[in-house]
Symmetry: C2
């Protein structure tokens, strides 16, 4: 009698070499021995994807997206075949499938396809035979049989979508860290692993710089209430459960502190204060594929105001070019870029019902002589843009003052 189905997803670093593949096989088999049914989703080995991209780049700087998917999907296909062989070696039955073979049907947006539906009959059939089913992550197929890939974090998405479709009791995401922490442990040794976190908190943390999982897969997990367990493939410790409602929710004001040093601040000075101006700026940026993050505009007491926003550092050059052009058109003033900034944030569903959290945050920053340049808030998070040199000190102080340390 099966104890239920578990979906396990192993990232590229978990299968980077022969020894690690064998370790993944051992872990999978240990679950099988305990009586679970298993669907295992695997990414491409180590740097395979990057190497294929590099090869393509040498041939065509602007490769067709369809052919890029054809090329990149081989990475995961290699992984699943090797993992199946490693499990066979341990004396267990396993069978590997590509995304196309298990019917992960997507739209036709090559390199960033969205899953439309999953025809999981083949998986159910093999599970019934007692086999461990291994599925290539990151890939799918269109209705006309073209191979697609799901974009960044695609393998996580495959795992969560399969867990939903097959009604798994849990979706385990194995990675090179052993869970979600109250703060980046590389910055603060007192960082504490969070045993449980809500989908919403995890979404905030993902968008604020925690790089464990892409927001996209968490959104799907939230939508269909799939319990996710983020844990390390190099240890047996339990990691962090991402679920609908954390049990200790009422007691916890703040779940974590995040830091993002990969953004730059752009300021347009003396923007004429009349309707439609902001729309003009951000429409132009979005049409050119620039992803704008925080936006701040103050009430103006004159006939003009300043608008500031943040973008990823890689997009600063492009953003400046576009923004300067628009600024001229709308008769605004100078456009300034500041890369010397950092975003510090606190996240927690607890702050919904506790006033004064923001005030406490500002106080902590002030106490550190740290000037706040921009502020942005959501239901369950508060972010401040500060000078980069204060960043580490700021997050460590926040971590301590909100009682997150060990």
């Amino acid at each position: 009698m099966s104890k239920g189905l578990v979906v396990q997803k192993f990232g590229g670093s978990s299968v980077a070499n022969v020894e690690r593949i064998q370790n993944v096989a051992k872990r999978v088999v240990s679950y099988k021995k305990k009586g679970f049914d298993l669907v295992v989703v695997v990414s491409a080995l180590g740097d395979t994807t990057d190497e294929l991209i590099e090869l393509a780049d040498k041939i065509n700087r602007e490769p067709s997206e369809r052919e890029m998917d054809m090329l990149l999907s081989t990475g995961e296909q290699i992984s699943v075949a090797l993992l199946a062989m490693a499990i066979h070696k341990l004396g267990f039955e396993a069978i590997s499938f590509t995304g196309a073979q298990v019917g992960i049907i997507t739209d036709t947006s090559h390199t960033r396809a969205r899953i439309i539906k999953i025809n999981a009959d083949k998986i159910r059939e093999e599970l019934k035979k007692g086999k461990i089913v291994i599925v290539a992550g990151f890939q799918g197929v269109t209705l006309s049989q073209d191979i697609t890939t799901l974009g960044r974090g695609g393998s996580d998405l495959t795992a969560v979508a399969l867990a939903k479709e097959l009604v798994a009791i849990e979706c385990e995401i194995y990675t090179d860290v052993d869970g979600i922490y109250t703060i980046d442990p590389r910055i603060e040794p007192k960082a504490r692993k969070i045993p449980e976190i809500t989908y919403d908190e995890m979404l905030e943390m993902a968008s604020l710089g925690a790089q464990v999982m892409q927001a996209r897969s968490i959104e799907v997990a939230k939508k269909f209430d799939v319990p996710i367990h983020v844990r390390s493939s190099f240890s047996d410790n339990s990691g962090t459960m991402i679920i609908k409602e954390a049990k200790r929710m009422e007691d916890v004001l703040i779940s974590g502190v995040t830091l993002n040093k990969n953004e730059a601040k752009i300021t347009i000075c003396n923007v004429p204060d009349k309707p439609g101006v902001a729309a003009k700026i951000f429409k132009e940026l979005s049409e050119n594929g620039v992803n704008v993050d925080m936006i701040v505009q103050n009430v103006s007491h004159t006939r003009s105001t300043d608008i500031s926003f943040t973008v990823g550092k890689a997009e600063v050059h492009k953003t400046l070019k576009i923004t300067k052009r628009v600024a001229k058109n709308i008769s605004a003033g100078e456009v300034l870029a500041d890369e010397d900034i950092a975003r510090v944030s606190i996240v927690g569903v607890g702050m919904k019902s506790h006033p004064g959290v923001a005030a406490k945050m500002f106080e902590v920053l002030a106490h550190n002589k740290c000037n706040i340049e921009m502020i942005s808030t959501s239901d369950i998070s508060i972010s401040c843009i500060i000078k980069k040199k204060f960043a580490e000190m700021a997050v460590k102080s926040l971590h301590e003052k909100f009682g997150l340390g060990k």
Copy 2:
């Protein structure tokens, strides 16, 4: 208006690196410019297949054949995607497909599958749109969507089968030699490229040691009368046409001389001369997967005889073990193995209507003081087993005496 369809097949050495892939793209495009429709079949890049086999071997010495096919088929998928990108770069339309996508349906014999049928509608559709269609060689798919591979020489088979299905005017096999030669040019600089050769002659030459194409693809080409053009991917010279009836057939007695040094001779001494004994020996060998080539048994004047046969060198150890056991059972004498032998052969449809060819061959060998240990003949070939040290001299003499030199 199209000048007709040409199928072009490029082997692994023709796409071993970026530069060579670009050269293949240029060649393909030059045909497109001339007005031909094109289906291009590609093998895996250079040593990719060997590298994947090595990786699998580290994980499981006896890998599942289904998973092996899953693994190896990625090699050709990488090639087709890269070639499509290279053709796009030259400004032409191209689309790549896996064996599964173009409906190359095979039986379920993984790693050595046989093609059952080809549903080429997808290819026809893309050709109609004016696109160059690129197909992964060596692979197919079962009716239940499992990926299969076709075994050695599989990409040639893919090309020939597609040429048949799509009624191509020619199937071009690009390789690293520029055609079939009257003798191995590494042995005899006077070797002459054969402009035309019949399927039957090519089949004999393939089985006698010429390694340009596997017998299997030639058999299919013969069956469906697909004209094959073997030529070099590194030059524009025309190569060798393999066809039903060579135009100059009547004039040519012998088409080529071949040499095979990869066999060993096994002799069972004093085999009791009674019915069923030979059957017992060769049934046992065949059941153990040993591929026996030449077999010679002389008329006996006593109550026992000697039986000799040849096997591939890699199988000598296994063969001796089996043969010694059987020899004991049938009360035969000693079993001897001789690896110091070579097989020299002459091939030509002309010998059918010309008596005295064999006599002339033996004369040439005798003139070189070369003793003949075994003789075997077919309709269009004669082979002699001789001591290895005579091998090169023997084939050079035969090449000269039968007038094949430049």
